[in-house]
Symmetry: C2
Protein backbone atom coordinates (compact mmCIF):
# COMPACT_ATOMS: atom_id res chain seq x y z
CA UNK A 1 0.00 0.00 0.00
CA UNK A 2 0.94 3.70 -0.39
CA UNK A 3 0.39 6.80 1.70
CA UNK A 4 0.06 10.46 0.87
CA UNK A 5 2.21 12.69 3.05
CA UNK A 6 1.47 16.42 3.24
CA UNK A 7 3.73 18.99 4.82
CA UNK A 8 1.55 22.05 5.33
CA UNK A 9 3.74 25.08 5.86
CA UNK A 10 3.11 28.79 6.09
CA UNK A 11 4.68 29.26 2.63
CA UNK A 12 4.18 26.00 0.72
CA UNK A 13 2.06 22.89 0.69
CA UNK A 14 4.40 19.97 -0.10
CA UNK A 15 2.77 16.71 -1.06
CA UNK A 16 4.36 13.32 -1.72
CA UNK A 17 3.29 9.76 -2.39
CA UNK A 18 5.27 7.48 -0.09
CA UNK A 19 5.67 3.72 0.03
CA UNK A 20 5.63 1.55 3.17
CA UNK A 21 9.37 1.95 3.60
CA UNK A 22 9.25 5.75 3.61
CA UNK A 23 10.42 6.30 0.02
CA UNK A 24 8.92 9.26 -1.89
CA UNK A 25 7.68 8.05 -5.30
CA UNK A 26 6.38 11.41 -6.57
CA UNK A 27 5.94 14.87 -5.11
CA UNK A 28 4.68 18.35 -5.86
CA UNK A 29 4.55 21.70 -4.10
CA UNK A 30 2.14 24.66 -4.35
CA UNK A 31 2.00 27.98 -2.49
CA UNK A 32 -0.08 27.88 0.69
CA UNK A 33 -1.41 31.43 0.38
CA UNK A 34 -1.94 31.25 4.11
CA UNK A 35 -4.25 34.25 4.30
CA UNK A 36 -7.06 32.27 2.63
CA UNK A 37 -9.85 30.51 4.47
CA UNK A 38 -8.61 27.12 5.59
CA UNK A 39 -11.24 25.28 3.55
CA UNK A 40 -9.57 26.64 0.38
CA UNK A 41 -6.17 25.46 1.59
CA UNK A 42 -7.53 22.01 2.39
CA UNK A 43 -9.18 21.79 -1.03
CA UNK A 44 -5.79 22.53 -2.65
CA UNK A 45 -4.16 19.86 -0.50
CA UNK A 46 -6.65 17.28 -1.74
CA UNK A 47 -6.34 18.34 -5.40
CA UNK A 48 -2.55 18.21 -5.29
CA UNK A 49 -2.76 14.81 -3.59
CA UNK A 50 -4.80 13.46 -6.52
CA UNK A 51 -2.22 14.84 -8.96
CA UNK A 52 0.68 13.29 -7.03
CA UNK A 53 -1.03 9.90 -6.90
CA UNK A 54 -1.55 10.11 -10.66
CA UNK A 55 2.03 11.31 -11.24
CA UNK A 56 3.29 8.23 -9.37
CA UNK A 57 1.16 6.01 -11.59
CA UNK A 58 -0.67 4.54 -8.60
CA UNK A 59 -4.39 3.81 -8.28
CA UNK A 60 -6.26 5.64 -5.51
CA UNK A 61 -7.43 2.20 -4.37
CA UNK A 62 -3.84 1.38 -3.46
CA UNK A 63 -3.54 4.46 -1.24
CA UNK A 64 -4.30 3.45 2.35
CA UNK A 65 -4.35 6.87 3.91
CA UNK A 66 -3.27 10.50 4.05
CA UNK A 67 -1.07 12.06 6.72
CA UNK A 68 -0.96 15.82 7.19
CA UNK A 69 1.71 17.59 9.20
CA UNK A 70 0.34 20.94 10.35
CA UNK A 71 1.92 23.66 12.49
CA UNK A 72 0.06 24.48 15.69
CA UNK A 73 -2.00 22.73 18.32
CA UNK A 74 -3.52 19.59 16.87
CA UNK A 75 -6.44 17.51 18.06
CA UNK A 76 -5.11 14.30 16.56
CA UNK A 77 -8.10 12.13 17.42
CA UNK A 78 -10.55 14.64 15.94
CA UNK A 79 -8.44 15.67 12.94
CA UNK A 80 -8.80 19.30 13.99
CA UNK A 81 -6.24 22.08 14.05
CA UNK A 82 -7.42 23.75 17.24
CA UNK A 83 -5.12 26.70 16.78
CA UNK A 84 -2.37 27.79 14.41
CA UNK A 85 -0.81 31.20 14.58
CA UNK A 86 0.94 30.93 11.19
CA UNK A 87 -2.10 29.64 9.31
CA UNK A 88 -4.84 31.69 10.99
CA UNK A 89 -6.61 28.49 11.94
CA UNK A 90 -9.04 28.20 14.79
CA UNK A 91 -10.78 24.86 15.33
CA UNK A 92 -10.24 24.02 11.66
CA UNK A 93 -11.87 20.68 10.74
CA UNK A 94 -9.05 19.70 8.41
CA UNK A 95 -9.61 15.92 8.25
CA UNK A 96 -13.36 16.28 7.65
CA UNK A 97 -12.88 18.98 4.97
CA UNK A 98 -10.18 16.95 3.23
CA UNK A 99 -12.43 13.92 2.88
CA UNK A 100 -15.04 16.02 1.03
CA UNK A 101 -12.54 16.18 -1.83
CA UNK A 102 -10.61 12.91 -1.47
CA UNK A 103 -12.23 10.26 0.65
CA UNK A 104 -9.30 8.51 2.31
CA UNK A 105 -8.53 8.01 6.02
CA UNK A 106 -6.73 11.14 7.26
CA UNK A 107 -4.28 11.47 10.15
CA UNK A 108 -3.63 15.05 11.22
CA UNK A 109 -0.39 15.50 13.09
CA UNK A 110 1.63 18.34 14.53
CA UNK A 111 4.30 19.15 11.91
CA UNK A 112 7.26 18.64 14.24
CA UNK A 113 5.85 15.28 15.37
CA UNK A 114 5.44 14.24 11.74
CA UNK A 115 8.99 15.30 10.86
CA UNK A 116 10.25 13.41 13.93
CA UNK A 117 8.60 10.23 12.69
CA UNK A 118 10.12 10.77 9.23
CA UNK A 119 13.63 11.26 10.63
CA UNK A 120 13.10 8.29 12.92
CA UNK A 121 12.08 6.04 10.04
CA UNK A 122 15.10 6.98 7.94
CA UNK A 123 17.79 7.73 10.56
CA UNK A 124 16.45 6.17 13.74
CA UNK A 125 17.93 2.67 13.26
CA UNK A 126 14.97 1.36 15.23
CA UNK A 127 16.08 2.87 18.56
CA UNK A 128 13.47 2.71 21.31
CA UNK A 129 13.76 6.36 22.29
CA UNK A 130 14.30 9.10 19.73
CA UNK A 131 14.01 12.88 19.90
CA UNK A 132 13.88 15.26 16.96
CA UNK A 133 14.46 18.99 17.36
CA UNK A 134 13.93 21.64 14.70
CA UNK A 135 15.77 24.89 15.05
CA UNK A 136 13.88 27.22 12.74
CA UNK A 137 11.62 30.26 13.15
CA UNK A 138 10.56 28.47 16.33
CA UNK A 139 11.93 25.46 18.16
CA UNK A 140 9.86 22.37 17.49
CA UNK A 141 10.23 18.94 18.94
CA UNK A 142 9.00 15.44 18.43
CA UNK A 143 9.51 12.36 20.55
CA UNK A 144 9.29 8.82 19.14
CA UNK A 145 9.12 6.06 21.75
CA UNK A 146 9.02 2.40 20.70
CA UNK A 147 8.55 3.60 17.12
CA UNK A 148 5.44 5.66 17.90
CA UNK A 149 4.94 9.40 18.15
CA UNK A 150 4.58 10.46 21.79
CA UNK A 151 1.70 12.95 22.00
CA UNK A 152 0.67 12.96 25.66
CA UNK A 153 -2.90 12.21 26.70
CA UNK A 154 -4.41 15.22 24.95
CA UNK A 155 -2.29 15.20 21.79
CA UNK A 156 -0.40 18.41 22.59
CA UNK A 157 2.73 16.86 24.15
CA UNK A 158 6.40 17.15 23.16
CA UNK A 159 6.42 20.95 22.93
CA UNK A 160 10.09 20.81 23.76
CA UNK A 161 10.68 24.41 22.64
CA UNK A 162 8.35 25.57 25.37
CA UNK A 163 10.33 24.62 28.43
CA UNK A 164 11.62 27.59 30.36
CA UNK A 165 15.42 27.66 30.56
CA UNK A 166 15.61 31.23 31.87
CA UNK A 167 12.96 32.10 34.44
CA UNK A 168 11.55 35.61 33.74
CA UNK A 169 13.66 35.77 30.58
CA UNK A 170 12.86 36.80 26.99
CA UNK A 171 9.24 36.85 25.89
CA UNK A 172 8.21 33.74 23.96
CA UNK A 173 5.53 33.47 21.27
CA UNK A 174 3.58 31.13 23.61
CA UNK A 175 3.07 33.86 26.20
CA UNK A 176 5.57 32.56 28.76
CA UNK A 177 8.92 34.16 29.41
CA UNK A 178 12.25 32.40 29.02
CA UNK A 179 11.28 29.38 26.87
CA UNK A 180 14.04 27.54 25.03
CA UNK A 181 12.45 28.74 21.77
CA UNK A 182 13.14 32.33 22.82
CA UNK A 183 16.89 31.51 22.91
CA UNK A 184 17.53 28.71 20.43
CA UNK A 185 15.29 29.63 17.47
CA UNK A 186 16.49 31.53 14.40
CA UNK A 187 14.32 34.43 15.56
CA UNK A 188 16.24 34.44 18.83
CA UNK A 189 19.55 34.27 16.98
CA UNK A 190 18.55 37.29 14.90
CA UNK A 191 17.61 39.20 18.06
CA UNK A 192 20.95 38.35 19.64
CA UNK A 193 22.77 39.33 16.45
CA UNK A 194 21.04 42.73 16.34
CA UNK A 195 21.80 43.35 20.02
CA UNK A 196 25.46 42.59 19.47
CA UNK A 197 25.64 44.76 16.32
CA UNK A 198 24.35 47.72 18.28
CA UNK A 199 27.09 47.27 20.86
CA UNK A 200 29.80 46.52 18.27
CA UNK A 201 29.65 49.09 15.48
CA UNK A 202 32.99 47.85 14.08
CA UNK A 203 31.87 44.21 13.77
CA UNK A 204 31.94 42.44 10.41
CA UNK A 205 28.29 41.58 11.05
CA UNK A 206 27.31 45.07 9.81
CA UNK A 207 29.01 44.46 6.47
CA UNK A 208 27.50 40.98 6.11
CA UNK A 209 24.00 42.22 6.94
CA UNK A 210 24.40 44.99 4.37
CA UNK A 211 25.44 42.48 1.69
CA UNK A 212 22.42 40.33 2.47
CA UNK A 213 20.09 43.32 2.75
CA UNK A 214 19.00 42.31 6.25
CA UNK A 215 20.11 40.77 9.52
CA UNK A 216 19.43 37.05 9.19
CA UNK A 217 20.23 33.82 10.98
CA UNK A 218 23.35 33.68 8.79
CA UNK A 219 24.83 37.07 9.70
CA UNK A 220 26.64 36.09 12.90
CA UNK A 221 27.69 32.71 11.50
CA UNK A 222 29.28 34.20 8.38
CA UNK A 223 31.07 36.91 10.39
CA UNK A 224 32.25 34.39 13.00
CA UNK A 225 33.72 32.12 10.34
CA UNK A 226 35.67 35.13 9.00
CA UNK A 227 37.15 35.64 12.48
CA UNK A 228 34.91 38.44 13.75
CA UNK A 229 35.08 38.40 17.57
CA UNK A 230 31.61 39.83 18.18
CA UNK A 231 30.13 37.37 15.68
CA UNK A 232 31.94 34.51 17.38
CA UNK A 233 30.58 35.58 20.76
CA UNK A 234 27.00 35.59 19.39
CA UNK A 235 27.41 32.15 17.85
CA UNK A 236 29.05 30.71 20.97
CA UNK A 237 26.28 32.04 23.20
CA UNK A 238 23.70 30.66 20.77
CA UNK A 239 25.36 27.20 20.86
CA UNK A 240 25.33 27.36 24.63
CA UNK A 241 21.55 28.00 24.62
CA UNK A 242 21.02 25.08 22.27
CA UNK A 243 23.18 22.97 24.59
CA UNK A 244 21.22 23.92 27.71
CA UNK A 245 17.93 22.75 26.20
CA UNK A 246 19.46 19.61 24.71
CA UNK A 247 21.00 18.70 28.07
CA UNK A 248 17.57 19.12 29.68
CA UNK A 249 16.12 16.79 27.06
CA UNK A 250 18.89 14.27 27.68
CA UNK A 251 18.34 14.36 31.46
CA UNK A 252 14.59 13.95 30.99
CA UNK A 253 14.45 11.34 28.24
CA UNK A 254 17.93 9.81 28.00
CA UNK A 255 16.99 9.06 24.41
CA UNK A 256 19.23 6.77 22.43
CA UNK A 257 19.38 9.33 19.65
CA UNK A 258 18.67 13.04 19.18
CA UNK A 259 18.51 14.44 15.66
CA UNK A 260 18.72 18.19 15.05
CA UNK A 261 16.93 19.60 12.02
CA UNK A 262 15.66 22.98 10.85
CA UNK A 263 17.47 25.65 8.85
CA UNK A 264 20.30 26.11 11.38
CA UNK A 265 21.14 22.39 11.21
CA UNK A 266 22.61 23.02 7.75
CA UNK A 267 25.66 24.35 9.61
CA UNK A 268 26.52 20.67 10.17
CA UNK A 269 29.59 19.93 12.30
CA UNK A 270 30.18 23.63 12.95
CA UNK A 271 26.99 23.49 15.05
CA UNK A 272 27.10 19.85 16.11
CA UNK A 273 30.57 19.60 17.65
CA UNK A 274 30.30 22.40 20.23
CA UNK A 275 26.74 21.37 21.09
CA UNK A 276 27.78 17.73 21.61
CA UNK A 277 30.63 18.94 23.79
CA UNK A 278 28.28 21.08 25.90
CA UNK A 279 25.90 18.17 26.50
CA UNK A 280 28.78 15.80 27.23
CA UNK A 281 30.04 18.18 29.92
CA UNK A 282 26.67 18.93 31.51
CA UNK A 283 24.71 15.67 31.22
CA UNK A 284 23.59 14.17 34.56
CA UNK A 285 24.63 10.74 33.34
CA UNK A 286 28.31 10.22 34.07
CA UNK A 287 28.55 6.44 34.02
CA UNK A 288 26.24 4.88 31.45
CA UNK A 289 26.22 5.03 27.67
CA UNK A 290 25.42 8.50 26.33
CA UNK A 291 22.71 9.72 23.96
CA UNK A 292 23.93 10.17 20.38
CA UNK A 293 23.37 13.61 18.88
CA UNK A 294 23.28 13.95 15.10
CA UNK A 295 22.28 16.35 12.35
CA UNK A 296 19.12 15.61 10.35
CA UNK A 297 19.60 14.35 6.81
CA UNK A 298 16.10 14.56 5.32
CA UNK A 299 15.45 18.30 5.73
CA UNK A 300 12.27 19.16 3.80
CA UNK A 301 11.43 15.55 3.01
CA UNK A 302 11.11 14.60 6.69
CA UNK A 303 7.73 16.36 6.86
CA UNK A 304 6.29 14.51 3.85
CA UNK A 305 7.69 11.10 4.82
CA UNK A 306 6.74 11.45 8.46
CA UNK A 307 3.22 12.64 7.68
CA UNK A 308 2.73 9.68 5.33
CA UNK A 309 4.06 7.23 7.92
CA UNK A 310 1.87 8.75 10.62
CA UNK A 311 -1.09 7.73 8.46
CA UNK A 312 0.35 4.23 8.29
CA UNK A 313 0.86 4.20 12.09
CA UNK A 314 -2.75 5.23 12.61
CA UNK B 1 2.49 -14.43 44.33
CA UNK B 2 4.09 -11.84 46.61
CA UNK B 3 6.93 -9.36 46.22
CA UNK B 4 9.38 -7.81 48.65
CA UNK B 5 9.67 -4.03 48.28
CA UNK B 6 12.68 -2.26 49.77
CA UNK B 7 13.00 1.49 50.09
CA UNK B 8 16.68 2.12 50.71
CA UNK B 9 17.12 5.59 52.16
CA UNK B 10 20.04 7.49 53.63
CA UNK B 11 18.49 7.11 57.11
CA UNK B 12 16.38 3.94 57.08
CA UNK B 13 15.92 0.72 55.17
CA UNK B 14 12.15 0.15 54.91
CA UNK B 15 11.05 -3.31 53.81
CA UNK B 16 7.54 -4.58 53.05
CA UNK B 17 5.89 -7.72 51.72
CA UNK B 18 3.43 -6.66 49.05
CA UNK B 19 0.73 -8.57 47.20
CA UNK B 20 -0.03 -8.38 43.46
CA UNK B 21 -2.44 -5.48 44.01
CA UNK B 22 0.12 -3.32 45.80
CA UNK B 23 -1.10 -3.96 49.36
CA UNK B 24 1.54 -4.10 52.14
CA UNK B 25 0.98 -7.26 54.24
CA UNK B 26 3.86 -6.74 56.67
CA UNK B 27 6.70 -4.28 57.02
CA UNK B 28 9.74 -3.40 59.07
CA UNK B 29 12.36 -0.66 59.19
CA UNK B 30 15.99 -0.62 60.36
CA UNK B 31 18.60 2.15 60.35
CA UNK B 32 20.72 2.27 57.20
CA UNK B 33 23.93 3.39 58.89
CA UNK B 34 24.95 4.72 55.52
CA UNK B 35 28.63 5.09 56.38
CA UNK B 36 29.05 1.28 56.31
CA UNK B 37 30.35 -0.69 53.35
CA UNK B 38 27.48 -1.34 50.99
CA UNK B 39 27.82 -5.12 51.34
CA UNK B 40 26.86 -4.75 55.01
CA UNK B 41 23.81 -2.65 54.09
CA UNK B 42 22.74 -5.19 51.45
CA UNK B 43 23.13 -8.03 53.96
CA UNK B 44 20.79 -6.19 56.34
CA UNK B 45 18.28 -5.66 53.53
CA UNK B 46 18.23 -9.40 52.87
CA UNK B 47 17.96 -10.34 56.56
CA UNK B 48 15.09 -7.90 57.15
CA UNK B 49 13.39 -9.22 54.01
CA UNK B 50 13.43 -12.74 55.46
CA UNK B 51 11.94 -11.44 58.71
CA UNK B 52 9.20 -9.54 56.88
CA UNK B 53 8.30 -12.60 54.79
CA UNK B 54 8.06 -14.62 58.01
CA UNK B 55 6.08 -11.88 59.77
CA UNK B 56 3.53 -11.95 56.94
CA UNK B 57 3.20 -15.72 57.36
CA UNK B 58 4.19 -16.33 53.74
CA UNK B 59 6.52 -19.03 52.40
CA UNK B 60 9.64 -17.84 50.54
CA UNK B 61 8.50 -20.10 47.69
CA UNK B 62 5.52 -17.78 47.20
CA UNK B 63 7.74 -14.70 46.84
CA UNK B 64 8.36 -14.08 43.14
CA UNK B 65 10.92 -11.32 43.44
CA UNK B 66 12.50 -8.41 45.30
CA UNK B 67 12.42 -4.79 44.20
CA UNK B 68 14.87 -2.28 45.63
CA UNK B 69 14.44 1.47 45.29
CA UNK B 70 17.85 3.09 45.65
CA UNK B 71 18.87 6.77 45.45
CA UNK B 72 21.40 7.57 42.77
CA UNK B 73 22.31 6.48 39.25
CA UNK B 74 21.13 2.94 38.70
CA UNK B 75 22.15 0.40 36.10
CA UNK B 76 18.79 -1.35 36.08
CA UNK B 77 19.78 -4.16 33.73
CA UNK B 78 22.90 -5.00 35.72
CA UNK B 79 21.42 -4.46 39.20
CA UNK B 80 24.24 -2.05 39.98
CA UNK B 81 24.18 1.30 41.77
CA UNK B 82 26.74 3.05 39.60
CA UNK B 83 26.87 6.06 41.90
CA UNK B 84 25.07 7.35 44.97
CA UNK B 85 26.16 10.46 46.77
CA UNK B 86 24.03 9.80 49.87
CA UNK B 87 25.05 6.19 50.26
CA UNK B 88 28.73 6.43 49.28
CA UNK B 89 28.17 3.83 46.60
CA UNK B 90 30.33 3.43 43.56
CA UNK B 91 29.55 0.59 41.15
CA UNK B 92 27.88 -1.31 43.99
CA UNK B 93 26.75 -4.79 42.85
CA UNK B 94 23.56 -4.64 44.90
CA UNK B 95 21.51 -7.32 43.13
CA UNK B 96 24.38 -9.81 43.08
CA UNK B 97 25.24 -9.20 46.75
CA UNK B 98 21.59 -9.49 47.80
CA UNK B 99 21.22 -12.91 46.18
CA UNK B 100 24.13 -14.24 48.26
CA UNK B 101 21.82 -13.89 51.28
CA UNK B 102 18.37 -14.41 49.77
CA UNK B 103 18.28 -16.00 46.36
CA UNK B 104 15.31 -14.35 44.66
CA UNK B 105 15.15 -12.35 41.39
CA UNK B 106 16.10 -8.75 42.20
CA UNK B 107 15.10 -5.57 40.36
CA UNK B 108 17.15 -2.52 41.29
CA UNK B 109 15.41 0.74 40.55
CA UNK B 110 16.05 4.43 41.09
CA UNK B 111 14.11 5.35 44.24
CA UNK B 112 12.03 8.09 42.58
CA UNK B 113 11.14 5.73 39.72
CA UNK B 114 10.02 3.11 42.23
CA UNK B 115 7.93 5.63 44.19
CA UNK B 116 6.38 6.79 40.90
CA UNK B 117 5.29 3.26 40.11
CA UNK B 118 3.83 2.90 43.61
CA UNK B 119 1.84 6.13 43.34
CA UNK B 120 0.75 5.15 39.84
CA UNK B 121 -0.52 1.77 41.01
CA UNK B 122 -2.55 3.26 43.85
CA UNK B 123 -3.51 6.72 42.51
CA UNK B 124 -2.93 6.47 38.78
CA UNK B 125 -6.34 5.13 37.79
CA UNK B 126 -4.64 3.39 34.90
CA UNK B 127 -3.82 6.61 33.00
CA UNK B 128 -1.46 6.14 30.08
CA UNK B 129 0.90 8.96 31.04
CA UNK B 130 1.77 9.68 34.66
CA UNK B 131 4.46 11.79 36.28
CA UNK B 132 5.51 11.69 39.92
CA UNK B 133 7.59 14.44 41.49
CA UNK B 134 9.18 14.38 44.93
CA UNK B 135 10.01 17.67 46.57
CA UNK B 136 12.46 16.70 49.29
CA UNK B 137 16.16 17.23 49.96
CA UNK B 138 16.41 17.02 46.18
CA UNK B 139 13.80 17.03 43.43
CA UNK B 140 13.19 13.53 42.12
CA UNK B 141 10.98 12.45 39.30
CA UNK B 142 9.49 9.34 37.81
CA UNK B 143 7.56 8.88 34.59
CA UNK B 144 5.15 5.98 34.05
CA UNK B 145 4.01 5.51 30.45
CA UNK B 146 1.52 2.79 29.56
CA UNK B 147 1.91 1.45 33.09
CA UNK B 148 5.68 1.03 32.83
CA UNK B 149 8.54 3.03 34.33
CA UNK B 150 10.20 5.17 31.65
CA UNK B 151 13.99 4.88 32.10
CA UNK B 152 15.47 5.98 28.78
CA UNK B 153 17.81 3.75 26.83
CA UNK B 154 20.53 3.69 29.47
CA UNK B 155 18.33 3.51 32.59
CA UNK B 156 19.17 7.01 33.83
CA UNK B 157 16.17 8.88 32.36
CA UNK B 158 13.48 10.96 34.06
CA UNK B 159 15.89 13.08 36.08
CA UNK B 160 13.25 15.80 36.04
CA UNK B 161 14.91 17.75 38.84
CA UNK B 162 17.94 18.24 36.61
CA UNK B 163 16.48 20.44 33.93
CA UNK B 164 17.84 23.96 33.98
CA UNK B 165 15.13 26.56 34.60
CA UNK B 166 17.56 29.43 35.22
CA UNK B 167 20.57 29.47 32.93
CA UNK B 168 23.74 30.26 34.95
CA UNK B 169 21.65 30.19 38.14
CA UNK B 170 22.22 28.57 41.53
CA UNK B 171 24.69 25.71 41.80
CA UNK B 172 23.06 22.28 41.73
CA UNK B 173 24.32 19.09 43.37
CA UNK B 174 24.71 17.58 39.89
CA UNK B 175 27.35 20.11 38.87
CA UNK B 176 25.17 22.20 36.55
CA UNK B 177 23.89 25.62 37.42
CA UNK B 178 20.21 26.54 37.55
CA UNK B 179 18.55 23.10 37.76
CA UNK B 180 14.98 22.91 38.97
CA UNK B 181 16.28 21.03 42.02
CA UNK B 182 18.31 24.11 43.00
CA UNK B 183 15.04 26.09 43.26
CA UNK B 184 12.25 23.67 44.16
CA UNK B 185 13.91 21.32 46.70
CA UNK B 186 13.65 21.74 50.46
CA UNK B 187 17.36 22.59 50.46
CA UNK B 188 16.59 25.44 48.04
CA UNK B 189 13.69 26.60 50.19
CA UNK B 190 15.98 26.72 53.23
CA UNK B 191 18.53 28.74 51.27
CA UNK B 192 15.83 31.19 50.15
CA UNK B 193 14.50 31.40 53.72
CA UNK B 194 17.94 32.23 55.11
CA UNK B 195 18.54 34.86 52.43
CA UNK B 196 15.23 36.52 53.23
CA UNK B 197 15.87 36.39 57.00
CA UNK B 198 19.13 38.25 56.50
CA UNK B 199 17.35 41.00 54.62
CA UNK B 200 14.35 41.08 56.99
CA UNK B 201 15.58 41.16 60.60
CA UNK B 202 12.04 41.92 61.84
CA UNK B 203 10.43 38.90 60.15
CA UNK B 204 8.58 36.29 62.18
CA UNK B 205 10.82 33.72 60.50
CA UNK B 206 13.58 34.52 63.03
CA UNK B 207 11.25 33.68 65.93
CA UNK B 208 10.04 30.48 64.27
CA UNK B 209 13.58 29.34 63.49
CA UNK B 210 14.59 29.96 67.07
CA UNK B 211 11.66 27.88 68.36
CA UNK B 212 12.65 25.02 66.06
CA UNK B 213 16.34 25.41 66.83
CA UNK B 214 17.18 25.81 63.12
CA UNK B 215 16.01 27.18 59.81
CA UNK B 216 14.03 24.39 58.16
CA UNK B 217 11.69 23.87 55.22
CA UNK B 218 8.87 24.76 57.63
CA UNK B 219 10.18 28.15 58.79
CA UNK B 220 8.85 30.30 55.94
CA UNK B 221 5.60 28.32 55.71
CA UNK B 222 4.77 28.73 59.42
CA UNK B 223 5.61 32.45 59.34
CA UNK B 224 3.62 32.99 56.13
CA UNK B 225 0.54 31.34 57.60
CA UNK B 226 0.80 33.73 60.58
CA UNK B 227 0.73 36.66 58.16
CA UNK B 228 4.45 37.46 57.97
CA UNK B 229 5.07 39.37 54.72
CA UNK B 230 8.67 38.26 54.21
CA UNK B 231 7.67 34.65 54.89
CA UNK B 232 4.82 34.97 52.39
CA UNK B 233 7.19 36.33 49.76
CA UNK B 234 9.55 33.36 50.22
CA UNK B 235 6.70 30.86 49.97
CA UNK B 236 5.19 32.57 46.91
CA UNK B 237 8.53 32.64 45.11
CA UNK B 238 9.04 28.97 46.02
CA UNK B 239 5.61 28.07 44.61
CA UNK B 240 6.48 29.94 41.44
CA UNK B 241 9.66 27.88 41.03
CA UNK B 242 7.68 24.68 41.53
CA UNK B 243 5.19 25.96 38.96
CA UNK B 244 7.87 26.74 36.36
CA UNK B 245 9.22 23.20 36.44
CA UNK B 246 5.77 21.61 36.50
CA UNK B 247 4.72 23.70 33.49
CA UNK B 248 7.83 22.50 31.65
CA UNK B 249 6.86 18.92 32.47
CA UNK B 250 3.31 19.54 31.27
CA UNK B 251 4.53 21.05 27.99
CA UNK B 252 6.93 18.16 27.45
CA UNK B 253 4.80 15.20 28.50
CA UNK B 254 1.19 16.44 28.66
CA UNK B 255 0.69 13.66 31.19
CA UNK B 256 -2.83 12.82 32.21
CA UNK B 257 -1.84 13.07 35.84
CA UNK B 258 0.99 14.56 37.88
CA UNK B 259 1.33 13.59 41.54
CA UNK B 260 3.48 15.64 43.91
CA UNK B 261 5.11 13.85 46.83
CA UNK B 262 8.01 14.44 49.22
CA UNK B 263 8.03 16.24 52.55
CA UNK B 264 6.74 19.56 51.18
CA UNK B 265 3.68 17.84 49.69
CA UNK B 266 2.32 17.48 53.23
CA UNK B 267 1.31 21.15 52.89
CA UNK B 268 -1.61 19.81 50.81
CA UNK B 269 -3.92 22.40 49.24
CA UNK B 270 -1.83 25.27 50.58
CA UNK B 271 0.83 24.13 48.09
CA UNK B 272 -1.40 22.56 45.46
CA UNK B 273 -3.80 25.42 44.69
CA UNK B 274 -1.25 28.13 43.79
CA UNK B 275 0.84 25.63 41.86
CA UNK B 276 -2.18 24.41 39.87
CA UNK B 277 -3.07 28.03 39.14
CA UNK B 278 0.46 28.78 37.91
CA UNK B 279 0.45 25.82 35.53
CA UNK B 280 -3.07 26.64 34.33
CA UNK B 281 -1.91 30.15 33.44
CA UNK B 282 1.37 29.19 31.77
CA UNK B 283 0.63 25.84 30.06
CA UNK B 284 1.15 25.86 26.28
CA UNK B 285 -2.09 23.90 25.86
CA UNK B 286 -4.98 26.33 25.72
CA UNK B 287 -7.63 24.23 24.02
CA UNK B 288 -7.43 20.59 24.98
CA UNK B 289 -8.07 18.84 28.29
CA UNK B 290 -5.49 19.72 30.93
CA UNK B 291 -3.17 17.54 33.00
CA UNK B 292 -4.50 16.87 36.52
CA UNK B 293 -2.15 17.81 39.34
CA UNK B 294 -2.62 16.12 42.72
CA UNK B 295 -0.87 15.57 46.02
CA UNK B 296 0.57 12.12 46.75
CA UNK B 297 -1.30 9.99 49.27
CA UNK B 298 1.11 7.13 49.95
CA UNK B 299 4.07 9.09 51.28
CA UNK B 300 6.62 6.62 52.72
CA UNK B 301 4.73 3.57 51.48
CA UNK B 302 5.09 4.57 47.81
CA UNK B 303 8.74 3.51 47.87
CA UNK B 304 8.00 0.03 49.27
CA UNK B 305 4.97 -0.61 47.06
CA UNK B 306 6.62 0.75 43.93
CA UNK B 307 9.82 -1.22 44.48
CA UNK B 308 7.80 -4.41 44.96
CA UNK B 309 5.74 -3.75 41.83
CA UNK B 310 8.88 -2.97 39.84
CA UNK B 311 9.99 -6.53 40.61
CA UNK B 312 6.61 -7.73 39.33
CA UNK B 313 6.98 -5.58 36.18
CA UNK B 314 10.41 -7.05 35.55
Amino acid sequence: MFYVGIDLGGTNIAVGLVDEGGKILADMSVPTMAERDYTEIVKDMAEVSKKVIEKAGVSVDDVAGVGIGCPGAIDNAGGICTYSNNLHMDKAQIAMEFRKHLDLPVNLENDANAAALGEYEINGNGVKSFVFITLGTGVGGGVVLDGKIYRGFNGVGAELGHMVIEQDGEMCSCGRRGCWEAYASVSALIRMTKESMEKNPGSLMHEEAEKEGKVSGMTAFVAAKKGDEAGKAVVEKYFEYIGVGLTNIVNIFQPEKIVIGGSISKEGDYLLKPVQKYVEEHDYNRYMEKAKIEIATLFGDAGIIGAALSAKER
